[in-house]
């Protein structure tokens, strides 16, 4: 077989994170010569999903500083906990983002036919955690009503609040046209909470409901973005079935989409090498010469990679916990005919938690609960993904949230925490860069719901690689491959 060095590659893609993998998918029918490498021994980069063993080596790696955008990674196994299953029974996601039904990534997965290899599950209810105000009152979780039916039927808010909420939901759906447009435009850049207060006279509780629907990490989302995000949520409701607005790819979220995309790349003839990074490079006019860690020297017309240098801004603290309970009550379908959800989301509003030392949570904490249906843990257990902005005693706050959640969900015996993985995800560059033959994707987004802006640089990179051919080609639109749709039954 000819060696890697004998080929002039059209593009070398470095890293198998989501954006690089989607690029591989986009180029999978282009006939371009593609070498796709990853310095890691696993697929998915910052969007990977890990067995317990993989997570362990990742943490070791991260503490050596070899994952540029991760710090303070650690694993804790409670000494008295039993019941953790073998390593490979888990698939812990670094990017457990939910995907709204109206997200463009879903249309791209459908038009590229890649969706056939992904199994999607429904994301169910959003809940708000309310702390006990005095010792007599228990802390609890309240379901956020986000459809008309739910607003009608909820007992959590008063009739007056229902009217207000309904009025607001109507407003959002029509917020881009007159006269609504004029109402919010002057507040476009100020926080959504202020707008809700001023224009809708909404009190604290309703504000919290609405901010939670935006999944804003700092709770300070501006009115323009906030209205757009809520509109996406509302208009996503019912698109793929009754009762849910978002879906989640089984087996580890975006990791699965990255892998499916790489497989499509491989089916299209791209060459894949894991455990292979770029040692050094020399840039000539229209060619890059790469010296790979495998010892190969190769030439390529283009190099596409991802940024991994921290920008120095506030990162995101994450805690992944496995608990020994199926937490069944969180995964109930709320509408008749709805699929049983595999994911539930709980928001701890800013100020609702405090550490032992009395530090209050300055920002919301979000907790995404995944049932074993996600394939991320064995039956009878659940995986909890907690996220908050990494300020102050982030570890303490996340631990408190975990604790508070466990007590709020159990009447009698609190489920046991079997495993904890903690780390901080650092932000990097937020825009893509094109410098001659080198294209660099921005750092992964910390957002909790898939953000379509992730897709734009992928298409940009695709255009660069395709050159003039991009003009005639339809982006991410492919026929099913022969054999993939054969439904004949073999008796």
């Amino acid at each position: 077989m000819e060696s890697l060095g004998d080929t002039l590659w059209d593009v070398v893609i470095s890293g198998t994170g989501l954006q690089q993998s989607l690029l591989a998918l986009a180029l999978s029918r282009s006939g371009k010569k593609i070498l796709h490498i990853d310095p890691n021994e696993f697929y998915g980069g910052s969007e990977a999903a890990f067995s317990l063993q993989d997570a362990k080596s990742w943490v070791t790696h991260a503490s050596n500083g070899s994952c540029g955008l991760v710090k303070s990674a650690s694993i804790a196994l409670p000494e008295d906990a039993t019941g953790l299953s073998p390593s490979r029974a888990y698939s812990l996601a670094l990017a457990p983002q939910l995907i709204h039904a109206r997200s463009a990534i879903l249309s791209q997965l459908v038009s590229s036919r890649a969706y056939r290899q992904v199994e999607f599950l429904a994301v169910g209810s959003f809940f708000i955690f309310s702390p006990s105000r005095d010792s007599a009152e228990a802390s609890g979780l309240t379901r956020i009503p986000s459809t008309r039916e739910e607003v009608f039927s909820t007992t959590a808010i008063s009739a007056k609040e229902k009217r207000l909420l309904m009025k607001f939901l109507k407003f959002v759906l029509d917020h881009e046209s007159s006269p609504h447009l004029e109402t919010w435009q002057e507040h476009a850049d100020s926080p959504l909470v202020d707008f809700l207060q001023k224009e809708f006279k909404m009190g604290g509780e309703l504000q919290t409901y609405i901010i939670t629907l935006t999944l804003s990490l700092d709770g300070q989302i501006n009115t323009r973005d906030g209205l757009a995000v809520i509109r996406r949520h509302l208009s996503s409701m019912g698109v793929y079935g009754p009762g849910f607005a978002a879906i989640y790819p089984k087996w580890g979220g975006l990791s699965e989409i990255a892998q499916v995309s790489c497989r499509a790349g491989a089916v299209g003839g791209a060459v894949y090498m894991l455990g292979t990074g770029i040692e050094t490079m020399e840039i000539a006019e229209d060619e890059v010469e790469l010296h790979l860690t495998s010892g190969d020297n190769i030439k390529t017309r283009m190099l596409v990679r991802a940024d991994d240098s921290p920008s120095g801004q506030t990162g995101v603290g994450r805690l992944v916990a496995v608990v020994g309970s199926p937490l069944t009550s969180l995964f109930e379908a709320t509408v008749e005919g709805a699929p049983r959800p595999a994911v539930a989301l709980i928001a701890f509003p800013a100020g609702s938690l405090s550490t032992a030392a009395g530090e209050e949570s300055a920002y919301p904490v979000y907790l995404s609960v995944h049932s074993s249906e996600t394939g991320e843990c064995p039956v009878g257990q659940s995986v909890l993904y907690l996220t908050t902005l990494a300020t102050g005693n982030v570890t303490g706050i996340l631990e408190r949230a975990l604790d508070a959640f466990i007590h709020a969900t159990s009447d009698s015996q609190a489920p046991q925490v079997l495993y904890r993985l903690q780390y901080e995800q650092l932000p990097g560059a937020d825009t893509a860069r094109a410098e001659g033959p080198i294209f660099t994707f921005p750092a992964p987004s910390p957002s909790l719901s898939f953000d379509d802006s992730v897709l734009e640089p992928v298409q940009e990179a695709w255009k660069k690689v395709m050159g003039e051919a991009a003009a005639e080609a339809e982006y991410m639109v492919f026929e099913d491959r022969e054999g993939a749709m054969d439904d004949d039954v073999y008796e």
């Binding site: 509302l234 079935g241 892998q259």
Partner: protein, 233 residues
């Protein structure tokens, strides 16, 4: 309940093919999926994806088959394919001893890395090149010009003993004549434990099939075209 006209539960099984280059992995799939055989088939580049339904008395299994290139260069592909796979077909060429060694490597890797409970079938292909080849399709040229007309280098006994030790299904096949090919896939379909099927997870598994439909979100299903910008109000 046992209404024969009721549709049988149907579930998908991800199956990955592994083995040294040129042992006939793609040919086995081609025989299974299209009942076809190509002499001198081009090597698979990277990987291919095919689907085929297999009808069992009580259920239908839809195989999602990932056919990977056997070349060493593509070893990086394999983990991506056997991740979450419920079944693996590890193929060797029974006229080529090194291919069994490679097959054993794959079996070890699967046992180490793949999903717990994966069903592995060891398949010795090119039975047509041996004396007991049932298809008599192995002409003199194929048989490597040996006097006996038997190119077999790996005895059934040897491979079978190994398969039994490792708890693998075992078959000798000929993709060329079609001998035993369907049997391999049917045996795998039967060996997949009910509980590892996507239809049977979690409590209340007696209504498992119905529940799967309840849970899986179909992106291409009957989707309300005007799904309603205004559904909330």
């Amino acid at each position: 309940m046992a209404d024969s006209s009721a549709p049988k539960p149907s579930s998908s099984v991800k199956l990955v093919l592994l083995g040294e280059a040129a042992v006939g992995k793609s040919s086995l799939v081609l025989r299974f999926v299209n009942n076809d055989f190509q002499e001198n088939k081009e090597p698979t580049i990277g990987a291919a994806f095919l689907t085929q339904k297999c009808n069992l008395p009580t259920r239908t299994i839809k195989f999602e088959i990932w056919d990977t290139a056997g070349q060493e260069r593509f070893a990086s592909l394999a983990p991506m394919y056997y991740r979450n796979a419920q079944a693996a077909l590890v193929v060797y060429d029974l006229t080529k001893p090194t291919s069994l060694i490679k097959a054993k490597h794959w079996v070890a890797e699967l046992q180490r890395q793949a999903s717990p409970g994966i069903v592995i079938a060891l398949v010795g292909n090119k039975l047509d090149l041996t004396e007991d080849g049932t298809g008599s399709g192995g002409d003199a040229e194929d048989a490597g010009g040996e006097d006996s007309g038997d190119a077999r280098k790996i005895s059934t006994e040897e491979a079978k003993t190994y398969a039994e030790e490792e708890g693998l299904l075992f078959f000798e096949t000929s993709a060329k004549t079609g001998f035993n090919v369907t049997e391999v896939f049917t045996a795998i379909a039967n060996a997949i434990p009910e509980t590892s099927l996507k239809t049977a997870r979690g409590p209340g598994a007696s209504h498992a099939a119905a529940r799967t439909e309840e849970q899986r979100v179909n992106l291409n299903g009957p989707r309300d075209p005007n799904a309603k910008e205004g559904c909330a109000c």
